[in-house]
Each structure stands twice: as C-alpha cells, then as structure tokens.
C-alpha cells in the first residue's frame, strides 16, 4: 500500500496546472486511499501477471489509411473566433521571453 500526503496531491495537481482548495485536496487524498486499496486487491488476482493490458475495445480492429488527398482547411478566422485575445491573425499571450 502506498502512503499519500497532502503535499503529494498538491504536487500532482500542480503538474496539471490545477490549484486545489484545502477541501478539494482532502477529497482527492481520500479517493487515492480507496483506489489504492482496490488496486491492491486487483494486483493479487490469480494469473493477472500473464494478462496482456487491453488498450482498445475492439481487438480485431483494422486501421484503414485514407488517400493522401488535399482537403479544405478551416479558415483562420473560424479558428480564432473563440479566442478572447487576438491581434490580426495571431493569438496574443503575455510576453514569454523575459528581459
């Protein structure tokens, strides 16, 4: 069983650029403990070490490649219509390179 701490939850949230309140942190911490307990049981299922992980629901799925044909692209105006800060054809953000 793993040991979970408030700081650990903070760290994983920070990696996702998500801030948590004290209450939210507590909720995640409690859930971690539940999942860890369950996974502990799972890891003891007989023969699980020999099972191949399933990543996709359809095992016999055949991926067909389409022809490499030019298609009509989305216009820049459409792409930018949901952006709150635009200058001409660019998305404006705070200066990235510090002086």
């Amino acid at each position: 069983m793993a040991t979970f701490t408030k700081e650990m939850v903070e760290n994983y949230a920070d990696k996702l650029l998500i801030g948590l309140t004290e209450e939210e942190n507590k909720m995640v911490l409690e859930e971690f403990e539940v999942i860890d307990r369950e996974i502990d049981i799972v890891s003891k299922i007989e023969g699980i070490e020999n099972i191949k992980p399933m990543t996709h629901p359809i095992d016999d799925f055949v991926c067909e490649l389409r022809e490499d044909e030019v298609e009509q692209a989305v216009t820049i105006e459409e792409l930018l219509q949901n952006c709150d800060d635009v200058k001409e054809r660019e998305v404006r953000v705070p200066k990235v390179v510090e002086e």
Binding site: I18, V28, I45, K52, N82
Partner: protein, 487 residues
C-alpha cells in the same frame, strides 16, 4: 392534441397526412422545453430560432430532437456543461449530428450533462442540477441527464447521448425510457468532446426500441474524420426488429442478480430484483432460453476501480487542450502558465479536478504498472469473460442499478460496497465496446426501473431485436413521465 410525445412513426404519419406541420412540431417542442426547463433544468440552450424542414420519406424528417451539450454544433453554444467552455461556439458540427440533420431532423435544444460527461448524477453541470421528471427530489443519473429528462417528459421523441461508463443506459433506467449505446465505432465520435477515448460511445435516448433503431440507423456510418468508425451499410437496425426470438439464448449473472447476494437488501432492491425475475419469465414465454451463469465476484468487484483508473487516465490526457488561451474564457495572469492555472482552477468543478489528478497520478512512470496497466488487465479479463458468454449466449441480461432513481440529497457519486457490482456492471459494455441497451421493466415505489441487454460487438441487430421482443411483453413502451412528487 400533442404530437411530440408520440413515437417517431406516429409523428411521421401525422406529418405525411397533413395533421401537423414541421413548424407546429417545433413550436410545440420549444414550448415544452420551456416548461421542462422550469421543472427539471434540463437544457443549456433552447434553440428559439430552430427552422422547419421539408418532410420527406425519411422517418426523422421534419421532427425535432435534442442534443447533449458535449456534441459540437456549428454556430450554437456547446459547453460540455463546463464553466471552462461556457462561451464556446464551435465552427463545425459533429458527424453524427450532421447525419441526423441531413435526413431532415431539427435540433431544438442542447441538454445538460455532468461536466464533460464525467459524472453519474446529473448534478455537476455548470448550469445546475437536473431533476427527474417523475420525482423532482430525485436525480436523473448521468451524465446524459438533460437528454433523459427531456425525452421522458415528452419534449421530443429522442435526444442524443454519450456513454463512457453507463451515461446513456443508467439515466434511461432512472427516467423510464430506452437508452442505446451501439458497438464502439458504429457512430462516429468526431465532434463529441472526448472524455476517455477508448470508452466513449455516442448513442440515443428514446421511448421505444424501434425509435432507438431508427435514430441510430441515421446517426451511424463510417467517417473519415474518426479512424475508429467502421462501415455498417449492411446493418439495418429497424429492419432487424422482427420480434421473433425463438431459440435465442440469454444468460444472467448469479453474482449480480441473486437476492441471496444481498442479505441486507432494502425494500427497493428486493422489488427491483423480483421485477427482473418476472421479465426472465416473460423471456421464456416468448421462446428464449434463459440460464444462470457465474463469474468470479472479485473480478466483478474490480471493474469499478479499473474503470476509475482507465477513465481518469484518458481524461487527463484529453483535457490538455483546455488552456483558456485559444478558446474558452481567458483567465487573468502575468504569464501564460499563470493564465492556464487560473483558468483551470476557477473553471473546473471539484469533482473533475479529482478525476484529473487521479489520472495524472496513475500515469506517472513509478505508478503506471501498479495502477494503469493492472486496470487494463482487469479490463481484458472482464471482456474475455463476457466474450466467453457470447460464444454460448446471444446476450447477457441484467438489472440496471439497485433500484429506482436515487434521492438528490446525500447520494453524490458515493459507492456503496454492498451494491457496487449491481451499480457499476454496465461499464463492462464500454470496456468491450459491446452493443448495450436499457429498457424500462417496471416500477418500484411508483418510480421506473430498467434492465439491460448486452451482446457481442457488431451484433447490434440481434441485441435490439431481443430488446424489442421483451419490450412487447411489457407495458412501458412510449411511456411519458407522470410526476409522482413535485418536490
């Protein structure tokens, strides 16, 4: 005289015979949308300027429908019921919606869901809780809560839904209607906001199996924009509904259905299971064989945790484009990092922050084998167990949940260990991409309950025909919610 609460074929006949026009249907549906919005809070957007369409020979032409708000709709607000996309207006329409619109269907509203589909209660959308039209003190379940409420209330004959764990099939049961999630890839997911891509399915909520077949016949089809979609032109769901099921074989799982498994069962659970047993008798009367099978209880119990791990991991990956910089309401910040953090911190509800952090944790290099890979192994074991059943049986039939809709007060996504398998087994349909349909099968305390039929991949016609035949042995086809408690 109301028409939008009738079956699709009845509405189509009325249109063809000139008893009503497409314009009048839209007006009726918009009026009902407003009434249901006041009662149940089912909609993010009501499309007041919905335009009538020509009535053709296609059964869906000229008829209104609803769209879950995680389907992209060009020029119409599409929020995923999240504050992070509260002003997002797509520049394209989801393929399955385009398919419906091409045959003349008319969208009249966008329905509320749990934020990005990541909930099972219908209580976490940014516009508030969705209430059950049968009883306003109860939930619709989720995530397709608004779609289920609206169809059950008779706003239109159908609405689209999406299903990653049971998000079409559980709300259908709680609202006394039909919820159908076809085989993975039958309906293109292009334009559906992704939650967990290997589990996400599009589908429909209707009031009868035939209506579900008609709607999915129109939504499905191969799509160059979704490489997991496939060519199903030889699959004709409506035509497959013959009602002849003689010799078909069903099985139910002892560990899920046997009353002895629940020594402390409450009255609701007992009645729900007894009700289910009656339907099994109905199945035998119409010529089907029904057998009890057994599956390792520990494996069944592992399903819920495997689901949490896999779905959270995939969700974490899918949320990376939610920055608030290119789209979404931009947050303040001195740097782009600070802007993104503020956007996510302020925009996401606590419940989905929880999912993302769990997802991040299980994907870390040091954790991936213990959590993510083990969960994927459980997924395979469960899918293999179901595939073994499908070698002998046409479908697995099981009750949905542990009774009727849960009360809104005090039941927020908390798992009860005693009934966890009963509540969560529908996830196995997503693990294996199986066609799976919920139909109403009776009442407990004057509230609807449902059962589920799940078959092997690509066997949608057979699954729907079995559901159709069983539906005909009961009296719940095309039922409209009758309010038993207005809160």
């Amino acid at each position: 005289m109301s028409y939008v609460d009738k079956s699709i074929e009845e509405i189509h006949s009325a249109l063809k015979e000139g008893k009503i026009t497409s314009r009048e249907l839209i007006e009726e549906s918009l009026q009902k949308s407003k009434e249901i919005q006041k009662k149940c809070n089912a909609f993010v957007t009501i499309i007041e300027d919905a335009k009538e369409k020509e009535v053709t020979d296609h059964l869906l032409s000229g008829i209104p429908f609803g769209i879950k708000d995680n389907y992209s709709t060009k020029g119409i607000l599409s929020t995923g019921s999240s504050n992070t996309l509260k002003d997002y207006v797509p520049f394209f329409t989801a393929t399955s919606i385009e398919n419906l619109e091409k045959v003349g269907a008319i969208a009249v509203n966008k329905t509320v869901l749990d934020e990005f589909g990541m909930g099972a209660t219908g209580t976490t959308g940014h516009t508030g809780i969705v209430k059950n039209p049968w009883d306003k003190t109860r939930m619709c379940a989720g995530s397709s809560a608004g779609s289920a409420a609206a169809v059950a209330a008779g706003v239109y004959p159908y609405a689209t839904g999406s299903d990653t764990g049971d998000s079409i099939r559980k709300p259908a049961a709680y609202c006394g209607i039909v919820g159908y999630k076809p085989t993975y890839g039958l309906i293109s997911r292009y334009g559906l906001f992704p939650f967990a891509s290997s589990l996400d399915h599009c589908g429909a909520l209707t009031r009868s199996v035939k209506d579900a077949a008609i709607v999915v016949d129109a939504m499905k089809g191969i799509d160059p924009k979704d490489m997991t979609s496939y060519d199903s032109k030889d699959m004709h769901l409506k035509e497959a509904l013959t009602g002849n099921v003689k010799g078909k074989k069903l099985c139910y799982i002892k560990e899920i259905c046997d009353k002895k498994m629940y020594p402390n069962a409450n009255k609701e659970l007992k009645e729900h299971l007894e009700n289910f047993e009656k339907v099994l008798e109905n199945a035998k009367k119409i010529g089907m064989e029904v057998e009890e099978v057994s599956i390792d209880k520990e494996l069944l119990k592992a399903s819920a945790s495997a689901y949490v791990v896999i779905s959270c991991a995939e969700a974490t990956s899918n949320m990376s484009n939610l920055t608030g910089i290119v789209f979404g309401p931009r947050a303040q910040g001195k740097s782009y990092i600070e802007m993104m953090k503020n956007y996510r911190t302020e925009g996401f509800s606590p419940l989905i922050k929880r999912r993302f952090i769990i997802g991040s944790y299980v994907l870390q290099k040091e954790n991936i084998d213990r959590y993510f890979k083990n969960a994927q192994k459980v997924r395979r074991m469960l899918v293999d167990a179901w595939k073994d059943l499908f070698k002998k049986y046409d479908a697995v039939i099981l009750p949905v949940g542990s009774g009727p809709a849960k009360l809104l007060d005090g039941s927020l996504d908390i798992l009860d260990e005693n009934t966890v398998i009963l509540e969560e087994h529908l996830q196995i349909g997503n693990f294996g991409g199986f066609p799976s349909i919920t139909i109403p099968d009776g009442f407990v305390d004057s509230l609807p309950v449902g059962l589920n039929i799940t078959g092997n991949c690509y066997d949608d016609e057979n699954v729907l025909n079995i559901a159709y035949a069983l539906e005909n042995t009961m009296e719940y086809k095309n039922q409209i919610a009758k309010e038993v408690n207005n809160g």
